[in-house]
Symmetry: C2
Subunit: 164 residues, 2 copies
């Protein structure tokens, strides 16, 4: 049994989208994915990529992925790595593939002089929370996540400005 | 009284660092800022910037700032805007400057086809929470923020891999 982890290439986009859909289903939001292969190709493999991705394979079969982008810490004055998605297909769990993916992401962060690796986890996802804690993660529970999307974002953009 | 909002330029770096320090003090972490002017110059105004920044001025005096980077939504297949810092100096509060900064960030997000604007707020910061809610924001309280930093990150990067 051989687990390999490698950077994703453009040809992986269909598989990446399959992973994204499988993760959304696991996160109880199966209909939330509207991304297309064209979107992922444009945003990950064009001249100014918005994300980067690692693929885990077991004996050549796609087993999981990690998808990241660079954040920024104004306190530290350094870019950080933000782990948007980490997922291992159910039939490949328990083999250390998630740990290997997380470790590789951490290695890339250290190599790139990023002192911070961050992500989010759903509060009911106890197995993931326990796993992350065992990996040395801390939970920043005094920070609430805020978001403006869709029509609310358009309304905000068009809101009355104060006298300018 | 004239409020203006403009993109930051390299010459604003000393002022940006002052804003960052003032915000950290407000967030009860005055000693957390280790960033230097050289860090902010390299990361915001070099060939591949990690962040971008808006400066608010009132009658030419620096009054506040918004500092952002691009996130990525794998569900939507689109980059998003992440608002790392939003701050108005105490003496300029109550004039609509925070709203004008947030609105400008939202406008940039819409212009760049980013369907999501996200940020974090401390759970005790009730004035900010009320303000964000009034701006149409939603709070994603089922998502916990997770982080690995410093020595824990280096340990994770160097952790034993499973048989590869």
């Amino acid at each position: 049994m051989a687990i390999t982890i490698r950077p994703a290439v453009a040809e992986d986009v269909p598989q990446i989208l399959e992973f994204i859909r499988a993760l959304a289903k696991y996160e109880r939001e199966p209909d939330a994915v509207t991304a297309t292969e064209a979107d992922l190709l444009r945003d990950g493999f064009g001249p100014t990529p918005y994300y980067w991705c690692l693929i885990a394979e077991q004996d050549g079969a796609p087993a999981g992925f990690a998808l990241c982008f660079f954040s920024y810490s104004t306190w530290l004055g350094r870019a950080g790595v933000y782990l948007e998605d980490l997922f291992v297909l159910p039939e490949f769990r328990g083999l250390g593939i998630g740990k290997a993916l997380l470790k590789r992401v951490a290695t890339i962060a250290v190599e790139k002089d990023c002192p911070r690796l961050g992500w989010e986890v759903l509060d009911w996802n106890t197995p993931a929370i326990d796993f992350y804690r065992a990996m040395g993660a801390e939970f920043l529970d005094s920070w609430r996540n805020v978001r403006v999307t869709g029509d609310a974002l358009i309304r905000l953009a068009g809101a009355e400005e104060p006298a300018l």
